[in-house]
Symmetry: C2
Subunit: 381 residues, 2 copies
């Protein structure tokens, strides 16, 4: 049974729970009331602005009842009942400062050990929705990528993958772009050049947060797809040399693409993106479109380059990479803020045809989270 005591000032109360005491401020409680005058019963939107809540709001009384925690607010003379489980879930009275580079709950980093367990969904099953889709979306959220197999060998089929969870992000490259390669002896040398693993379009703000690549033709040997968990690479960099992590997070790089008429895309962003409290939120890494870096002070530039070099070495380490082949009708989705991708070189003649498009994580996360909220509890484990 929970208990409650109110501070004599009325500025906060302390909820006694099985997990220890949790303090909540008067203003926070009032702002987060769920009564129908504060939150619209239909869509949950808050009906008040903070200006509608008195600055001098205080707790005039509080009691644990069978319905939950009842709080009486002065000067409004308003009483609100809170679900105690909801309060515990939203408690903010905990030690701060988790340090820099922490990961959001639910993210699992990986390396080459994930090979053979690539998160994979069956096209037809995913289109049915339900648990198959939910599990695959969960895997994409957890690992930052996922494969789809047994899809139609049809141009435009990649849009049916985006339809599973969200919306295409159209850019100057179109709603989709073609990736065609003819591999023959006369250009083998060129196609044999491996592309370094990279994230796409770092010169764009906002960066496309998801990419879909869908295979329609693949008759050449080689040309496997390769992915690297950028968050795992960053964590390794930080473990080896914390100052390398710091210098890449503390200064902006510059990225640019102006390779066609009417296009001049530029971005000023750090290679390692952090939330203000240190959560690791993104990686931009692409040697082809890195522009002259001008926001690192002279005294830090050699250190920055050393860190960039070491991060590249970690990304290039085969112990970090997962490779898989895409056959016609197969595709993969990658979180472009976290997972780098590349294509291996070819070793024989033939052709390869992929279609690609961009999409955004807001739709994927929303679809996934909405399914989770509504999954029957017994199935939610």
């Amino acid at each position: 049974m929970a208990t409650v005591t109110t501070d004599p000032t009325g500025r906060f109360l302390t909820l006694g729970t099985g997990d220890g005491p949790l303090r909540f401020h008067a203003l926070w409680l009032r702002d987060n009331a769920a009564d129908p005058q504060t939150r619209a019963p239909g869509n949950g939107q808050r009906l008040l602005a903070l200006r509608d809540i008195p600055e001098a709001t205080a707790i005039a009384g509080a009691e644990v009842t069978a319905q939950g925690l009842r709080v009486d607010f002065a000067p409004e003379g308003k009483s609100v009942v809170y679900d105690i489980g909801w309060l515990i879930q939203h408690a903010y009275d905990r030690p701060a400062d988790p340090g820099r580079g922490w990961l959001a709950p639910g993210i699992r980093t990986w390396d080459a050990g994930l090979m053979g367990q690539v998160p994979t969904g069956d096209f037809a099953a995913l289109e049915q929705g339900g648990a198959a889709l939910q599990d695959w979306l969960q895997a994409v959220t957890t690992y930052g990528f996922g494969k789809v197999i047994k899809g139609p060998v049809a141009p435009g089929a990649l849009f049916r993958i985006v339809d599973l969870f969200g919306y295409v992000r159209e850019t100057n490259y179109g709603r989709l772009f073609e990736v065609r390669t003819q591999v023959n002896p006369s250009n083998l040398a060129f196609t044999g050049l491996g592309l370094q693993a990279h994230t796409d379009n770092p010169y764009r703000d906002p960066v496309p947060t998801l990419q879909v690549l869908y295979c329609l033709e693949s008759t050449a040997a080689g040309g496997e797809n390769m992915v690297v968990d950028g968050f795992a690479a960053i964590q390794r960099l930080k473990a080896e040399t914390p100052a390398y992590f710091d210098v890449l997070a503390d200064h902006c790089a510059r990225f640019e693409y102006a390779g066609e008429a009417g296009v001049c895309l530029t971005a000023r962003q750090p290679m390692i993106g952090l939330a203000p409290d240190g959560e690791l939120t993104g990686l931009r890494f692409n040697n082809r479109s890195l522009a002259a870096v001008t926001d690192v002070p002279f005294a830090a530039m050699e250190h920055w380059y050393a860190a960039y070099r070491r991060l590249g070495e970690i990304i290039d380490d085969t112990a970090m990479e997962v490779t898989f082949r895409l056959d016609p009708g197969e595709a993969f989705v990658v979180d472009n803020t976290r997972v780098l991708h590349a294509r291996k070189g070819y070793s024989g003649e033939g052709s390869r045809w992929l279609q690609g498009c961009y999409a955004d994580k807001d739709g994927l996360r929303s679809t996934h989270d909405a399914m989770n909220r509504h999954r029957p509890p017994e199935a939610a484990e």
Copy 2:
């Protein structure tokens, strides 16, 4: 005439210019070489990764010639000529730490004083492209919003505005959304409620960076559109109480919208967004979709709420707001990462019909910057 001296270590050189000495590191110079082996002549993409450039790269010689600055690199034995103007433009040997909250070059903040000079483009002239479009895109970039007049009164015409510079960001609200209001005596009380100025969809990552609202019908008195420069509001907050600026920038708020089936959009972002070096990059402010804030430690929560309250008061200050009426065939575009918008209440009967959509700034900035790069020098100031 420029001069050059190389440090005895070979690690950097010093370029003597009319503006004083500028130091450049060997590795930075080598990485930013523009020769055709380093950068693809066609599209400017870098052909090398950092792994292809020796870690021990040093300057073996340097000379100012008629062609520019020639630098000889060891151990590669490679010589590269740099344009001296380009080097001066990309110099990074300057005092660091501009402090927090600085604005990107070209941004001009504004308040109610901008009324009467709202950046405005003529629909037909904008579709012609050229200087009219360039000037309007410049204004939108500078002020964070712009109006369009004399457009067709036709559903879907808003897409022709997006076509001027970029691409629609489709979301769960569709490629466009309808904003229809019937104003009559029975619901006047409701429509008379002013919406607090806000940014749209703060619960989305990435947030839509542009919004277009296009008027198709407007017969009721009132209902003016109102915009507030969020960057001006934040600068005022910082000038008044620096600690309020800091607490809103240093902690994440939470935003949520789960008001329809299958949708659960959440974001964990600070109200005030900064780049790692303190550039002011964004604002998220929306009382309706602010969720329970759980990432502010207990000791800072009252301070955070006081800062949030004061920022809201500044945003509500009529001295900050610019209002304008949209008649049928008129529209406005707003930078949703910077400028807040709202609708004033109505004072009479009638109806109002707007169509809205989202788009992104990457396309707008790219179109604008590409025009600027190619504008004849005499017209470019």
